[in-house]
């Protein structure tokens, strides 16, 4: 009894904290903000986009503007959209006047993508895609192009620079049994990791370069890197020149004698991207899709974190409101008042000024807290 009275007297001397459950965080000292970049490898084998699912993972639309590719038959709830394919032809293209199928759609697609990705010149006119990105210097333009628009699910915040690879089968024969892949070229953003361009309204982009990746004879017209497209890292769009399927005689990059222009459509006499003149977007997307051997890149997620330093002093949080903490009203972990109080931390709650619980964190195992220990628990909240 006297023990209890003495406790009371002690309480009169030692004021109990007004809010003894919650400890305020000093924003200046106890909160830190960090930024972390995370990368994931995204490999897409060609069999997924042509063959594995008998094209049940390919979605075409009545409007005929583009084709969507999924990683599983798209009627399934498990399917994820991975990219879209379409084709664009500039009004300045030599092929444009010959286009007879979906001419306006191909022009509209080109202009739409160009105005978003390449922007406008000082007169307000839409700029065409520049082959090397050096717009002021003029130079070759990409007027007949394929667009691969990757899903946000794959690219997350952006494609990691210097990691993009697209391998295309360029054998001239059209064949669904693998013959198209007996000669291959690989498109990479070769300079992406140490050099990229920033004169686009949608962020950074790099030039895609083509090299021979497979084939017993020379596949390319010359043993060199050919600039054949642009890769917009944040937008997640690859712009691929039609020249990748043309031989040198037709203004492309392929070897004239050993490769010839790639026949994209078996039922047509067209060679290379000449297919754009008489085929629909859907047919052209099918043709390109069947030439994709492999696509891979790393994506980037920008993780912004707040780290809260929860500092627990030796004289804090040594008691519990756990219903099992008391037997009657007596503290179970003490046999006499002079024993040190003990509690066990399993959770940390983060609150606002109204004491509303906004976030929780858990320890992997109970952490013993007594008046002879102090801790700083770092709680990280990612956004």
């Amino acid at each position: 009894m006297s023990q209890f009275v003495s406790q009371n007297q002690q309480f009169h001397r030692e004021k109990i904290m007004a809010e003894s459950f919650y400890k305020s965080l000093d924003i200046g000292k106890d909160v830190a903000n960090t930024r972390t970049l995370l990368h994931e490898a995204i490999p897409l084998t060609g069999t997924i986009v042509s063959g594995t699912y008998s094209d049940n993972n390919i979605k075409n639309y009545a409007h005929g503007m583009f084709q969507s590719v999924y990683d599983y038959p798209y009627l399934s709830s498990s399917a994820n959209h991975i990219f879209d394919l379409t084709v664009g032809v500039s009004a300045q293209s030599g092929l444009y006047s010959s286009v007879t199928s979906q001419k306006s759609k191909k022009l509209n697609i080109y202009n739409q993508m160009a105005q978003v990705l390449a922007g406008y010149d000082h007169t307000g006119s839409i700029q065409r895609f520049d082959q090397d990105g050096n717009i002021l210097a003029g130079g070759a333009k990409l007027d007949n192009v394929f667009f691969m628009n990757f899903s946000r699910l794959l690219i997350k915040d952006e494609i990691k620079k210097g990691t993009f690879e697209l391998e295309l089968g360029v054998n001239s024969d059209y064949d669904q049994a693998g013959v198209v892949f007996t000669r291959r070229i690989k498109l990479t953003d070769l300079s992406g990791s140490n050099g990229y361009l920033v004169n686009s309204p949608v962020g950074e982009y790099g030039v895609l370069y083509a090299t021979q990746s497979f084939g017993t004879n020379a596949v390319l017209a010359a043993n060199q890197y050919y600039a054949v497209g642009l890769l917009f890292y944040q937008a997640g769009v690859a712009v691929i020149s039609g020249s990748v399927f043309h031989d040198a005689a037709k203004g492309g990059i392929l070897h004239t004698t050993n490769t010839d222009s790639t026949r994209l459509l078996s039922t047509s006499g067209y060679h290379g991207l000449d297919i754009v003149t008489g085929s629909t977007n859907e047919v052209i997307a099918d043709s390109l899709r069947n030439r994709i051997y492999n696509v891979q890149f790393n994506n980037t997620v920008e993780l912004n974190s707040s780290v809260y330093f929860c500092r627990i002093n030796h004289n804090e949080y040594n008691y519990s409101t756990n219903p099992t903490y008391l037997s009657g009203s007596k503290i179970r972990v003490k046999t006499q008042s002079s024993d040190l109080p003990v509690s066990y931390i399993t959770s940390v709650g983060l609150y606002n000024d109204n004491n509303e619980l906004l976030a929780t964190a858990k320890l992997s195992e109970p952490l013993k807290k007594s008046s002879d220990t102090e801790f700083t628990i770092r709680v990280r909240l990612d956004y």
């Binding site: 109990i16 459950f21 219903p323 903490y325 959770s347 906004l358």
Partner: protein
């Protein structure tokens, strides 16, 4: 020569609660983390063995082996039993909150919960006990049945606070800093609301995303226990603090519809009458000590409607 342990601070990944996500989405600045609290929800202190044969290092060996669950995103189900700081390290007794059932008007129903009769038919009247009413028996109010529609009668819920130990005389004064002068009451807002014993409605502080209403109550519902005797009407054996008394008003939904009874409840027999019912709990937490009690409540509606 071994390396020193450089693991340093403990690093935890936090998850937003559903309420946190809601406030973040509102974008009005209410998502502003400014304080923290610690909890020990998984810990069972009865495993603390102060007589372990191997010595004090083994007293808590079973507690330390307790597996910890992943974080819940339900704000109402997380960080429930908080750790608390007291200035003194010499406390041996702490106050508790207990349901006082020692008076006929504060008794729980014999079914093991407080019954809230949600409409007039279920309440009945003293002079007209119908086939459906459960509130009266032989003209007398049935103990443990709260009239949730009219808020009439004396039946109510009473909780007493203090040190519940016969080792200490109730004549001892509880330290003012351990006396609760306000409580938080949590109740499912779809089912009921908190009212004073006079039948006046109490405004809630806020209702969270899980429809749990939070009430902070003090004057009007909380009063000092002045009885220092070891009388039979006191639930607290030792020094006493305050008592909390309140009634529960049925929600409009329960009063006028059986939808929630069909969705959340069942049917049973109460006082010999067939009723639809929903079982719930009302949580009462002391603002100072954090001690909480779950009060079992059954909302009942006669099958007349």
């Amino acid at each position: 020569m071994g390396f020193l342990d450089n693991s340093g601070d403990i690093i935890l990944d936090a998850v937003l609660t559903d309420h946190g996500r809601k406030l973040l989405a509102k974008g009005d600045g209410s998502f502003q983390i400014s304080k923290f609290a610690l909890a020990d929800d998984e810990i069972n202190y009865t495993l603390y063995n102060a007589t372990h044969a191997s010595g004090s290092a083994y007293y808590d060996v079973e507690i330390l082996q307790t597996p910890v669950l992943e974080a819940f995103t339900d704000n109402a189900g997380s960080v429930k039993s908080k750790l608390i700081s007291y200035g003194s390290m010499n406390l041996l007794y702490l106050p508790v909150v207990k349901i006082n059932q020692l008076n006929s008007s504060t008794k729980m129903h014999t079914s093991g919960a407080f019954i809230v009769a949600v409409d007039a038919e279920t309440e009945g009247t003293a002079d007209n006990v119908t086939t459906y009413s459960v509130g009266y028996n032989a003209g007398q109010p049935v103990p443990g049945v709260i009239f949730g529609s009219s808020l009439a009668g004396d039946n109510r819920i009473r909780l007493d606070q203090g040190v519940d130990s016969s080792e200490i005389s109730p004549k001892e004064r509880l330290d003012p800093d351990l006396i609760e002068d306000s409580y938080i009451i949590q109740i499912d807002n779809r089912l009921g609301k908190i009212a004073t014993i006079n039948g006046d409605m109490v405004p809630e502080d806020y209702i969270d995303d899980d429809n749990i209403a939070y009430y902070t109550v003090d004057v009007g519902l909380v009063s000092q226990i002045t009885d220092e005797s070891a009388g039979l009407s006191e639930a607290i054996a030792g020094p006493r603090g305050t008592r909390l008394e309140f009634k529960i008003a049925a929600s409009i939904d329960l009063n006028t519809s059986t939808f929630l009874f069909s969705q959340l409840g069942g049917t049973s027999t109460l006082e010999g009458k067939a009723v639809k019912h929903i079982d719930s709990i009302v949580r009462v937490t002391g603002m100072k000590t954090g001690y909480s009690v779950d009060v079992p409540v059954r909302f009942a509606k006669s099958t007349i409607s």
